[in-house]
């Protein structure tokens, strides 16, 4: 079973992020593998353990390859970095185009593609579905359960919906984005960590993909950031100094008329 996992390095949740200008963020140099992508890697590894085959982690990033190294540390067989100066400023569609183009190369047959439900930095959740659309394969988002019938090339997945669970099935090849609850990503063993530290990451540029610089990058972006705004500061705490039960009445009034949350 040939499995690909799309991964991204995102700012660590502990990293300090500030709005530098209208179009630029200042992010502390602390990065981490997107947690939902770890779930996706784990899903791939579990299927390989059951059916055999190969798990390849794949990213589009000109600088950071730690998400790929984490994939190898967890047990992935191969890691590919799509990198090219022309990719700078790409939006989610351009990233998806680069990934789909790589996966469409005739020497890259695949059975399954996994991705995280969304990246924890932009929270867009678009790359996975866009890759599936470009490849013309079925996809299901935000799965929390997965059963693969390899001989029949069929998959049954579960996802949570309002008030219950939805069970869907589709044929392979297919793409799924993974949600918390699908599995518990393994903690890498030190043996694999050392292997990942030394691993040679294979690099692929736009020329190898047969893409032009105009098709990706900032100029081709369909989505443009207009302005970054810092979150509003927490308003000061308002103390209600009346005695019971007047204080409760005042609190309810304030919650309804001022905070407008009830």
């Amino acid at each position: 079973m040939e499995i690909y996992v799309l991964v991204k390095q995102v700012p660590d949740p502990e990293a300090i992020v500030k709005v530098k200008s209208d179009s630029e963020l200042e992010i502390e140099n602390k990065y981490f593998t997107n947690f939902f992508d770890e779930i996706a890697i784990e899903a791939g590894l579990k299927l390989r353990e059951k059916f055999g085959g190969k798990v390849t982690v794949l990213t589009v990033d000109n600088k950071k390859v730690d998400a790929l190294r984490r994939g190898i540390a967890m047990g992935a067989d191969d890691a590919i970095q799509i990198t090219d100066p022309a990719l700078e400023g790409s939006d989610q569609f351009a990233i998806a185009k680069a990934l789909a183009t790589y996966l469409n190369l005739k020497d890259k047959p695949f059975d399954l593609i996994f991705a995280g439900r969304q990246a924890m930095d932009d929270d867009a959740g678009m790359v996975g579905p866009a890759v599936a659309e470009l490849l013309g394969i079925p996809y299901v988002n935000v799965i929390t359960g997965l059963e693969v019938d390899d001989p029949k090339k069929e998959v049954k997945v579960i996802r949570e919906v309002d008030g219950g669970k939805e069970i869907l099935s589709c044929s392979l090849p297919a793409l799924f984005t993974c949600q918390k609850g699908l599995n518990n990503p393994r903690i890498p063993q030190v043996m694999n960590v050392m292997k990942a530290m030394k691993a040679q990451i294979k690099k692929v540029d736009l020329a190898a993909l047969g893409l032009n610089a105009e098709e990706v990058g900032g100029k081709a972006a369909k989505i443009k950031v207009q302005k970054y705004l810092p979150p509003p500061k927490r308003p000061p705490v308002k103390m209600i100094k009346e005695d019971f039960p007047e204080n409760v009445k005042t609190l309810v009034k304030l919650l309804r008329e001022e905070a407008k949350i009830i």
């Binding site: 540390a73 903690i187 890498p188 063993q189 030190v190 043996m191 050392m194 990942a196 530290m197 705490v237």
Partner: protein, 386 residues
């Protein structure tokens, strides 16, 4: 370019992996580990399965054979979690297995080192006695040569992992009158029906570092075979101890560094959120000064400790540097945990808040690798060229 203070991309990745493992396995249990005061067997098994216990040992025996800087990165990250767990793990990785890996024959390595790396056998090292610790010349545990081996008699105190240890590297003297020149290391296993060895004495209940169990080991005419003598020749025990102590001191310094950092990070959040007189207390100058002083001393400590790791790795003599770095880092840690107790105000005095745990854990680091009084006396003597 002669000076380069950067970690490599690979080292940074390794740090991130260890940090992540500590965050997932240890951090959620830190309070419970301290309160229960028991050795956490389940956590030990989970941790051992990741392979880190073999960090500094030969790949032939299931280890990773990493360099000193990588090991120190590991110690620094591990100590962010539970100080007690860190003490037990570092005892196993470094002191408890060092002389077995260095001097043990193939039989001993297969019998002791291989299961120790898997976490299946627990190891320790024994220096301290009722009248000796930093003063090794006062060692009274006696090793007597007999046919085919040695008889060991004595009582060792303050032994980390002692109550649960399967094997111990024991410092003993062939004659107390010889002082430092009579000291050697011997491998002693726990006594069973079929084998002579040590038995556990009293278990100690400690102020901090509480999930690392500590107690006495007693050897009463315990016979050990010749192959359990750990060394190349008799009388070199002190020299060997000096050689391991460089690593032990830098490792202890790394523990201090991490406790201090965790305590101050915690205090930073508290100070930014705790409102007094209408402002977060981090806006008051006397509070800010505590963070500024810590920051300066922390950065100096960290740089010096990694310099020592680099010197050990490159076989540059650094016994005094390792003493100085351990001393500086641990005193910096004492300052940090004390000030965090003040930043938290009265809240620091109850177990619902973490400062008291940082404060109690930190005190444990004052004694390992030589008390600061002994270290300072020695270093002062060296500095004055007496």
């Amino acid at each position: 370019m002669a000076l380069d203070f950067n970690f490599t991309e690979e080292q940074e990745f390794f740090r991130q992996m260890v940090r992540d493992a500590v965050n997932r396995l240890i951090m959620p249990k830190v309070k419970e580990l301290d309160e229960k005061e028991e050795f956490p067997w389940d956590l030990w098994k989970e941790f051992a399965a990741l392979g880190y216990l073999g960090l500094r040992h030969d790949e032939k025996y299931g280890g990773m054979g990493t360099d000193t800087i990588t090991q120190m990165i590991f110690y620094e990250e591990l100590a962010r979690g539970s100080c007690g767990f860190s003490m037990s793990a570092t005892m196993q990785i470094l002191m408890g297995t060092y002389f077995i890996a260095r001097f043990g024959n193939e039989n001993i390595k297969q019998k002791i080192l291989v299961p120790a790396i898997k976490g299946e056998k627990i190891g320790t090292i024994c220096f301290t006695e009722d009248q000796s610790g930093s003063d090794l010349a006062g060692t009274r545990t006696l090793a007597t040569k007999v046919d085919g081996g040695w008889k060991i008699n004595g009582r060792k105190q303050w032994i980390t992992n002692g109550p649960i240890a399967d094997f111990a590297t024991v410092m003993a003297t062939i004659d107390p009158k010889l002082g430092l020149k009579g000291l050697n290391f011997y491998l002693v296993e726990r006594k069973t029906e079929n084998r002579d060895g040590f038995v556990s004495g009293q278990r100690l209940h400690k102020l901090g570092s509480r999930c690392s169990v500590t107690g006495e080991l007693v050897m009463d005419n315990a016979f050990i075979p010749d192959e359990n003598f750990l060394g190349e020749e008799i009388g070199k025990g002190v020299q060997y101890a000096g050689e391991i102590l460089n690593e032990v001191r830098v490792m202890t310094g790394m523990n201090a560094l991490s406790i201090a950092k965790e305590a101050m990070e915690d205090a930073r959040q508290y100070a930014n959120n705790r409102i007094a007189f209408g402002n977060p207390i981090s806006r008051y100058q006397l509070i800010r000064e505590k963070f500024a002083k810590f920051w300066a001393w922390y950065e100096a400590s960290r740089t010096y400790l990694y310099k020592c790791a680099w010197m050990i790795q490159n076989n540059i003599p650094c016994i005094h540097d390792c003493m100085l770095a351990k001393y500086h880092s641990t005193e910096m840690c004492m300052y940090a945990v004390e000030e965090v107790m003040r930043i938290y105000g009265g809240n620091a005095f109850c177990s619902e808040y973490p400062p008291q745990r940082f404060w109690r854990d930190a005190k444990f680091l004052l004694y390992g690798g030589g008390t600061h009084e002994v270290l300072c006396d020695y270093l002062g003597r060296i500095y004055c060229k007496e």
